[in-house]
Symmetry: C2
Subunit: 411 residues, 2 copies
């Protein structure tokens, strides 16, 4: 078995070649990686079957479904890689150009990060997505899959490396950590000088562990306690559609709505409508005032601070826009929050005052997504303020440097 340190050195050795690769080479590699996934379907599905066998019994249905691969899912993964190939190359863009009075020409230019490490859990498709985005962004990557998905991830990486070799890129541009104990995650978090960016993709526990222990630059992703505030001036039918969509269209994702706050002036009318529309599918957890209007289960102490990721919605009644904003400031994870209102002043106050990655007026929080924002595929949704906020596309996987051309200037 290769040690994690050896794997990090492999990635470091590959990073110059990946960074120097031109757009055509990177795209050729990506298309070859996609094809290799399909061509190696049998081997990948066999590895996945071993992972599934090992997981059965100890793992619930939802987790098993996340882990499972099929020919159709492999084809979708390949298609995802082809979509990354079709995106514009983020490397080399000149972000700012200035000619100084002394004649120095200074260009702020997008350049690759170098080595990107991604720690994730059981979804094998993250292996392909993350590798494709890293390669397109000109970086080598070191992937660490969850133990339960390791055999699948290894087979996927082996196939993708075929594609890299075909395109003349070093196969060590994409690496999978072989040690599946917790040690290897810790090593990635503290590999100063060898990891330029660490991205944890997974549950709240993993992300907290990275934020607390990482000494390498790290981006916090994903936890979403998203709010929809139905203002006194809301179009209630619109509000109903938005809450229904944000809660029910895919409850397991981070941009799903977990909390609905309703202005007291419309609560008497809106809450019965809400109960009728989604009460059959969604468990409504009511604060005291909401429970005075509709019947249902009372919310517990932690229910306004829980990412349910399920058909559950905490519902509260508030006195004003200000109370709603104060509640959001105290309970939001800074992912996506929305106001439904026909009052432009209320909308602007909400947009300015709510400190989240995505702040909406009159639209579902489910739009917080790289594709929906027009950024293309994404590596995750950042809920921190440093470097990247919201969906992280290819641009956010790059850094920049200043290139200064002179003719002998001294200071």
């Amino acid at each position: 078995m290769m040690t994690t340190h050896e794997i990090l050195l492999d990635a470091a050795g590959a990073k110059s070649a990946v960074a120097a690769a031109d757009t055509a080479t990177k795209n050729r590699a990506l298309l070859a990686m996609a094809n290799a996934l399909v061509e190696n379907s049998d081997a990948i599905l066999a590895a996945n079957a071993l992972d599934m066998d090992a997981a059965r019994g100890t793992t619930g249905e939802v987790m098993l479904d996340r882990l499972a691969l099929s020919t159709a899912r492999l084809e979708a993964m390949a298609e995802g890689i082809r979509e990354v190939a079709a995106l514009p190359d983020p490397v080399g863009r000149v972000l700012a150009h200035v000619e100084r009075p002394n004649g120095l020409v200074i260009e702020r230019t997008a350049v690759p990060m170098g080595v990107i490490a991604i720690i994730y859990e059981s979804r094998p498709n993250v292996t392909a997505d993350a590798a494709a985005l890293a390669v397109k962004a000109g970086s080598a990557c070191v992937l660490r899959a969850g133990k339960e998905a390791h055999r699948s991830a290894a087979a996927i990486v082996e196939a993708m490396r075929e594609g890299l070799r075909e395109a003349g890129l070093p196969e060590t541009a994409v690496n999978l950590v072989e040690d599946t104990t917790r040690d290897s995650a810790g090593e990635l978090m503290t590999a100063s000088g060898l990891v330029d960016l660490l991205i944890p993709r997974g549950g709240a526990g993993l992300i907290r562990a990275c934020v607390e222990n990482a000494t390498v630059p790290c981006i916090e992703t994903g936890t979403g306690i998203c709010h929809i505030y139905v203002d006194a001036a809301a179009d209630l039918d619109m509000a109903l559609n938005i809450v229904e969509n944000a809660k029910c269209s895919r409850p397991s994702v981070c941009n799903a709505c977990e909390v609905c706050l309703v202005h007291k002036d419309v609560a008497e009318k809106f809450l019965p409508m809400l109960k009728e529309r989604i009460g059959g599918r969604v468990e409504l957890l009511l604060d005291e005032r909401a429970a005075g209007i509709i019947s249902g289960k009372r919310a517990g102490a932690r229910d306004f601070d829980t990412e349910f990721l399920d058909y559950i919605l905490a519902v509260g009644v508030v006195d004003s826009l200000d109370t709603a904003m104060a509640h959001i400031a105290a309970h939001s994870t800074g992912h996506s929050d929305c106001i439904v209102t026909a009052d432009d002043d209320a909308a602007e106050r909400f947009l300015r005052g709510v400190d989240s990655a995505a702040v909406y007026v009159n639209a579902s929080t489910r739009f917080t997504d790289g594709g929906e924002f027009g950024l293309g595929c994404e590596m995750g949704i950042s809920t921190q303020k440093l470097h990247a906020r919201g969906p992280m596309g290819l641009q956010e996987l790059c850094t920049y440097k200043y290139i200064i051309r002179g003719g002998g200037q001294v200071r």
Copy 2:
């Protein structure tokens, strides 16, 4: 004494008001802060005299000079704040605007960080600079000065708070940590949810401590082992001017040159010129091959990995551009590195291949500075790749959020 936690809560309480302040209000506050510094000169100089008295005896001349204030230095600090007032407001700029096919209008908009913490050492002027930049960037700040400068910093903050009050901003927009033990630095590093950005400004030890211990987002600043590579195709007179300027114009700063690498084909000619030009002022530490050409002290094992911040220069001879770039990759801190050459191909290879915040052709590394880059005043020079790289001006002290305006769209 207020606890550090209480001070952080004060800053959190002020951040909305600072973020919401319009440009005119912030500028009025900055000008009032500058005036208050001058008006309170007596009190500030008296506090500084106490710091100086306490430091004398245990502290060297260089440190004492850093700590010392005078009427002229206070006036320069006030002028620095006025310069920040004159810079464009970084808050509210629309960084990207897209209208999606479904009619959603998505704007990526620059917004304040919230609370910026700055841990620094003995230079009292950092107190004024950092506070001014934070306020202009719409953030509250929590400053932690070194123990030896605490009385001076407290008097400066007291004066600046007068200015904030005059402009109708909360005085808790600018806060100074009262606890001068190491505990308070540790508290700032781990104040998750209360510190949005931590910037250490000081020596390598402080920066390492922050990088290793911070659980809040942190930007590594400052350490500069900067290289100048004199290529085979260099104009040697230009090279001489550049090395002299980069080494001698201000050796104590991070953008000063610490290492000169010379291509073997020009070393016989260039090294004697270098010795003649700067050998009287600068101690040249020579590698084996350089020592075969000119006489001088031999470099020790660590001399190519040392930020001298003094009239000392490590000098080596290399076989090629590639060897020079490999040396820089192994020994640079990623701050500023330069090639002197008349060969455009060599220049472009160096610019692409060297992975530092600022990469130069034919100009002194001393230009790596917010003012010289046209960014205005700076909060420090980032040597990491996340968020900000190189000089951090007002833009780099902001984050962004996505503002999405819809008409009832669901997904």
